[in-house]
Symmetry: C2
Subunit: 122 residues, 2 copies
């Protein structure tokens, strides 16, 4: 029989509204990587309008500017993360990594012994 | 402005199917507390049939008997957890508690400093 594995989902809330999540952090990372909200939206299969709406919603829920746009120029506009946006993305990824490690450790400490006993009984 | 708070959801999977979750553990705990699947189902607003189906599904996914029923007697049948069922519920609760503590600590270590910087800037 295949292994039983722990799964988890993480997010941040303010007043019951999502202030940051894995999905939204990925969108911000793509903005940083591609330098363009249009390219980030496309990579996630979102419309530009919807991606923009998500970022504006996050900024409103967190109370900070996460992205900055520069219009014009030969190649069209560019969007980048603000220094605070970059700090948030990095901090969220570290938060996520710590929790991931803790979930694995807690599972190994608490549930694996019981699962082992079951397999021994089976 | 109110606080930004970390939220999480935990569960166990085997082959992409849910092997245990907060909701299902609550159902098992209610069986243990009330000594009856009918009473446990009622407390969770589930039909008896649906509660029974959930428990059978968990037993099948985990490969262990979690509950045992005794039929008949003056007061009707009773359902209790097996020793392994009890061990699973207790181990899952300890797993959950460890993760909850870790989420709080990881949030305080990684995200609160950035959130504090934002409020200072606002």
């Amino acid at each position: 029989m295949s292994a039983v594995l722990p799964r988890h989902k993480l997010w941040l809330e303010r007043d019951g509204r999502i202030a940051l999540s894995d999905y939204r952090v990925r969108l911000l990372e793509l903005v940083a990587e591609r330098g363009s909200l249009a390219a980030a939206a496309e990579a996630m299969g979102l419309s530009y309008r919807r991606a923009w709406g998500k970022i504006k919603e996050l900024e409103s829920n967190l109370g900070v500017r996460l992205v900055a746009s520069e219009v014009g120029g030969a190649g069209g506009g560019h969007t980048r993360l603000t220094p605070l946006g970059e700090a948030f993305v990095a901090a969220y990824r570290r938060f996520q990594q710590r929790v991931e490690t803790a979930v694995g450790e807690a599972f190994a400490a608490e549930l694996e012994p019981v699962l082992g006993a079951c397999l021994a009984d089976a």
